[in-house]
């Protein structure tokens, strides 16, 4: 039943954009049909995934596929868990698109958007339910290519084309690595089926090979720090709801792939968990540090995705270490943090990107320092963005807190374990705390500069609230964040099922999440906190009748203007300079001197550490070294024919019996 529903959903989403292709550009029905199909498909898919989650029975259907061995698709708890954000965001994003990317305003790109949006969602659903490497690759490529067309939707802008190409390069490197991975898998296990490997079936070096290939391919997609280079550009240049699904769901497919492969391999060595933990810590910390240095709202959110992927990887690393050292508590807490953060991040990051989309929609700019004071014209968006910001910072009473708290608990349990391994793992806890603190600083900067204060430009001053089709999805996501934050107990059976699916533990030896984490107490504290906040707000509202009118950042000046406010850059300047060894902000400042100084300005910019300082210069260097090769490529067909002829002759000349000719000559 669950699988049938999901297949129906997959078909609905895959074809959602196609009817619109028959209609004319001016017709509004192409978008309406696409959204209706997406919503129906999403609903069916969500029901299917829900059934799959609550009845964690592995259902599988096999399709005859002679060339590749029979293909299998099936839903188990892990697949169903990842299907939820896929279908949820697929549906909500298309509804959001009604207001954000209406066919009337974007007749040129609208239909393309719907076709590839459907392809993206269907591709992800297929890859999540496939239990066969080739079917997995099909889904993976459908997802990757649809995402490319969505990123480069506005291909009349050069920066958009550039971001699309960089993404395409990155994703193809990932696919190539996946080919390698599955060839290895086939060679080692004897089939393309993704089935658990028996104990001691593979030697350690083979397992290591499979793990490192999987790590490279999937962390390229997930955007783990040293290879996240495609991510900021793609998330910035895509339309906001595309950024939301990219960041909220597509990145998670990397996490899914990694989890799937890890769940199939028995007896992981401790280096894997350690490596995942270190990678997680690096991307978590540097992701948020780079986010602090950004001036572009969506680029900043993109770097926060790197940070959150880091937190997810830290949880995964802890769980893997738990499997290696045989500590079921670490596995349960680490996986619970990892999995729940997958959901949470897809909810609150999509919420934030939707909020950023409303801001862009209302003001036409993404530059944080050109906005300001938007809380007054856009109260809904401001409130929703605040919910998302509190959630992403990992503050109670919202959902981000719960998942980070699981990881914290895991680290602290590890610290109390006897032995050096435990205390080494505990280093993760202060790093996670630091990530949280920096995230708070970053979102204070964003929220303060964008929604508080007064408008810095006329565009921001004439902002308007988003239409209901955009507010609705945001409200839904905000409510989801709040529900998970206030009642995490609801999710514990789901998480238990997925963790059991991941670690392969038997019914008897399994720890349940409620036994290692005091979920009910946390709920009570969160609700109490919420009540306190509401009471405080009510109290202040009742007594605060006297209002002081003035600018938020007026700094005590008598006649402040909007230009005298703190800017986002100046707010973050201290932290940026603290991390200038990695951020290396570029910028220039003209000196102001004399009694009547000339107009002066300053600007700063933070390059991406990998893309702008390693990859681009490296490729330029490579291009110069191989410049001589250009003379072989002159564009003359005759020359190319000559190359073919030379090759043919060289190959034929291997037939010349040189040995016999020599023998003949010498004999004479």
């Amino acid at each position: 039943m669950s699988l049938n529903l999901i297949i129906v959903a997959l078909l609905f989403t895959a074809v959602s954009g196609l009817p619109g292709l028959m209609l004319s550009r001016a017709s509004l029905w192409s978008q309406r049909i696409a959204v209706a199909c997406m919503c129906l498909g999403s609903l069916a898919g969500l029901i299917g995934a829900g059934l799959g989650l609550y009845n964690p029975m592995t259902t599988a259907v096999s399709f005859p596929w002679p060339a590749m061995g029979d293909s299998l698709i099936g839903v188990d708890a892990l697949s169903a868990f990842f299907l939820v954000p896929i279908f949820l965001m697929g549906g909500l994003g298309s509804i959001y698109g009604l207001g954000y990317w209406p066919q009337r305003r974007y007749p040129r790109t609208g239909k393309r958007l719907h076709v590839f949006w459907g392809g993206l969602v269907a591709g992800m659903a297929l890859l999540v339910i496939s239990k066969h490497a080739i079917a997995f690759l099909f889904g993976w490529e459908a997802m990757a290519l649809s995402a490319f067309f969505l990123v480069s939707l506005e291909d009349h802008r050069p920066e958009c084309r550039k971001a699309g190409l960089i993404y395409l390069m990155a994703t193809h490197i990932g696919t190539l690595t996946l080919f390698g991975l599955f060839v290895c898998w086939r060679w080692a296990t004897g089939s393309y089926g993704l089935h658990p490997v028996a104990n001691d079936a593979l030697s350690l070096s083979v397992m290591n090979g499979i793990f490192f290939l999987a790590l490279l391919a999937f962390s390229l997609k997930a955007g783990v720090m040293p290879i996240h280079f495609w991510l900021p550009g793609a998330h910035t240049q895509a339309p906001s709801h595309v950024s939301a699904i990219l960041s909220g769901v597509v990145l998670k497919m990397g996490i899914y792939g990694l989890l799937r492969i890890l769940s199939l391999l028995p007896n992981p060595p401790a280096t894997w968990g350690g490596l995942l933990l270190v990678l997680g810590a690096v991307s978590g910390l540097f992701g948020v540090v780079f986010a602090l240095g950004q001036h572009d709202l969506k680029r900043l959110l993109a770097y926060h995705s790197v940070e959150n992927i880091g937190i997810i990887l830290m949880g995964m690393g802890l769980a893997m270490l738990g499997r290696s050292f045989n500590h079921p508590e670490w596995v349960v807490l680490g996986m619970a943090g990892c999995l729940l953060h997958v959901w949470n991040h897809s909810f609150f990051k999509s919420l934030l990107f939707f909020g950023a989309g409303s801001v862009v929609h209302a003001t036409g700019t993404r530059q944080i320092d050109r906005l300001g004071g938007l809380a007054k014209p856009m109260p809904w968006t401001a409130a929703m963005f605040l919910v998302g910001a509190v959630a992403i910072c990992g503050l109670p009473p919202l959902n981000g807190f719960i998942s980070e708290w699981f990881v914290f608990l895991g680290f602290l349990r590890a610290g109390t374990t006897i032995g050096t391994s435990g205390s080494a793992v505990m280093i993760g806890a202060p790093i996670l705390a630091m990530i949280g603190a920096l995230a708070v600083a970053c979102f204070v900067k964003v929220y303060g500069a964008v929604f508080l204060g007064t408008a810095r430009t006329s565009g921001a001053a004439h902002a308007h609230e988003a239409p209901f089709s955009m507010r609705g999805p945001m409200l839904f996501l905000a409510a989801a964040c709040a529900v998970i934050g206030l009642a995490p107990v609801l999710l514990s059976p789901i998480l238990d099922a997925v963790i059991a699916n991941f670690s392969g533990a038997t019914e008897a030896s399994r720890l349940s999440l409620t036994s290692v984490a005091p979920l009910k107490i946390i709920s009570a504290i969160s609700i109490w906190l919420l009540v306190c906040i509401l009471a405080l707000w009510l109290f202040l509202y009742l007594i605060g009748r006297v209002r002081h009118r003035g600018l938020t950042w007026d700094c005590g000046y008598a006649q402040p203007t909007s230009r005298m406010q703190y800017t986002a850059s100046s707010f973050a300047q201290m932290i940026v300079s603290m991390f200038s060894w990695i951020l290396r902000p570029r910028g220039g400042q003209q000196q102001v001197s004399g009694a009547f100084p000339k107009p002066a300005g300053m600007h700063t910019h933070v390059d991406d550490v990998v893309l702008d300082r390693v990859i681009v210069p490296g490729f330029h260097d490579l291009e110069q070294r191989f410049g001589w090769f250009r003379r072989f490529q002159q564009g003359l067909t005759q020359n190319y024919m000559l190359y073919i002829l030379i090759t043919v002759i060289l190959m034929l000349s291997t037939l010349i019996p040189f040995k016999e000719i020599f023998a003949f000559l010498i004999a004479r």
Binding site: L636, L645, V648
Partner: protein, 213 residues
Amino acid sequence: MEMLNALLVIVLVLNLFALGTSRILSVIHIVATQGALLGVIPLLLHEHLSLPVILAAAAAILLKGIVIPSIMIRSLRAAQIKREVEPLIGLLPSVILGALATAFVLLFSKQLPLAAHPVNTLIVPASISTVLVGFILLTTRFKALSQVLGYLVLENGIFIFGMLLVQAIPLVVEMGMFLDLFVGVFVISIITNHINQAFSSMDTRMLVSLKEE
């Protein structure tokens, strides 16, 4: 067998004629003759003549001997050019080159690792040397129509090689190959016409300007 070898020798001689002629119209005639001769070969190879074999041979003769040449002659007239003015290497050197290639292939074709060597026929050397002559035409001539002719000679070479498998290839596949060829030449002729009208030149070297910097 004698008959077959005689035909193949004529094909080889026609190759050299094609290399040594600068008038494009003559080259078209030569290639047409070659194609028509090749169409006869399957009739000689089959022991029992059946309807499909006769159909395929008739199609080959009709297409290579009549249809394609007439299309090309039309586009030649439209283009108002008569000869290949400046080939990359002169006509005589290219004839010598072609002859050398033919000799080379005749000497060494016995060394080819084929599954079953056809006894006493020239099929393999004739096919390879025709392919090589096609390549020489393709690399040394610059007019668009000469390029098409080079391609046709190349295809003729491949066709001769296909004679080795003549018992095994079904009619449908053979017809498919003819259709391919026909459509290819048809399209190229139309394109050359348009290129000629738009740029008043048929020199393929102009295509260099399409190259990305």
